[in-house]
């Protein structure tokens, strides 16, 4: 089974090497695995750091946002005929130890898309303001796309081969996280959620989406639906 791990990155030079080294250690026994960093127009040494960690680099000449980077990663996974694609944040908030759990439902043929949910292990690992944003995101996802989820904004996901082939992202920025659910609904893909750890550091909180950004995301999602 060919597994492609997509790591979208924008100016993550301070942490990306450490994240990739930990990831590499964890996937050593998983068979044919390729780590692909989509460097989304970083102006720091993100690409260089990722390269020294042994990852493949796909370089966006200009910044296109999270959705643009994820779309590039999934297109690459489609081109190399990957059986499973995993998206993994570059800021160090995910535990590489969870990767087996996230891909397991796809390996067993039980799911097309797996969401690594930060809330299934309990809300206590999530800061209060983030809980509100997550709840808001989940409600909007249910209302707009009729898909129930416990973590619509999770960056840790896995996709089966049919999902990789069919999913087509149109949005550019953070709203891509919600757009995945629109695609799951449109393509009638089988969705499963598994609990994951989340490691909130001051770095990952600074790098993640701001709470106020939620309104912009909603506006762009509505625009996507109305066009």
């Amino acid at each position: 089974m060919k597994l492609v791990i997509i790591v979208p990155a924008f100016n993550e030079a301070p942490v990306i090497r450490k994240v990739l080294v930990a990831l590499k250690k964890e996937i050593a026994s998983l068979g044919e695995v390729e780590i692909v960093v989509v460097d989304d127009g970083s102006v720091d040494a993100t690409a260089k750091e990722a390269m020294t960690a042994g990852a493949k680099i796909l370089s966006h000449p200009i910044n296109r946002g999270l959705g643009g980077a994820l779309g590039t990663g999934l297109t690459y996974a489609k081109l190399v005929n990957a059986d499973i694609a995993v998206t993994f944040d570059a800021d160090g908030q995910h535990d590489p130890g969870d990767i087996r759990r996230v891909i397991e439902p796809i390996r067993k043929g039980d799911a097309d898309v797996v969401i690594g949910s930060r809330t299934l292990k309990g809300m206590q690992q999530i800061p209060f303001d983030r809980r509100i944003i997550l709840w808001f995101g989940n409600v909007i996802t249910k209302l707009l796309f009729s898909v129930s989820t416990s973590d619509s904004q999770s960056g840790f996901r896995a996709f089966s081969k049919p999902a990789i082939r069919q999913i087509s992202l149109k949005t550019q920025e953070m709203e891509a996280s919600s757009e995945f659910f629109s695609e799951i609904n449109r393509l009638s893909l089988q969705l499963t959620e598994v609990p994951i750890h989340v490691i909130y550091t001051s770095y990952s909180r600074k790098k993640g989406q701001s709470n106020l950004n939620a309104f912009g995301i909603l506006g762009r999602l509505l625009l996507k639906l109305a066009r």
Binding site: S59, R64, T72, L79
Partner: protein, 118 residues
């Protein structure tokens, strides 16, 4: 027939002629298509009619049940502006999407080239 124009009508007509000339020029150089040309011709044509003959807007106001002709112009302008802002946003989103597609192609081609070099 003698036509008397008050200063605001003169100002409006000059502006409308200027705006229509832009539409005509863009159409002639094929920057806009026939549909867009006809849409804007209609808008500026109605604006010219309303400026030259304010009774025109008053009669529309009467038909629609709105008090004054000037109110009809304001309501219609607001609706049109909202719609145009929406359309502009959609076009902008499409352009952003196309740029992303292009950037994606460059990134994937770059990867292919570096693989060939090796």
């Amino acid at each position: 027939m003698q036509i008397l124009l008050i200063p605001v009508q003169v100002f409006l007509l000059i502006f409308i002629l200027f705006a229509f000339s832009r539409v005509w020029l863009r159409f002639r150089e094929r920057t806009i298509n026939i549909g867009t040309f006809l849409f804007w011709s209609l808008i500026w044509g109605l604006a010219a009619l309303g400026s030259l003959n304010p009774q025109f807007t008053t009669s529309i106001a009467r038909v629609l049940g709105i008090g004054r002709g000037a109110d009809v112009v304001i309501y219609a302008s607001l609706v049109l502006l909202f719609y145009l802002v929406y359309r502009t946003n959609v076009i902008l989103e499409n352009v952003r999407h196309q740029i992303t597609e292009l950037v994606r192609k460059i990134a994937l081609e770059g990867e292919k080239r570096s693989k060939k070099k090796k």
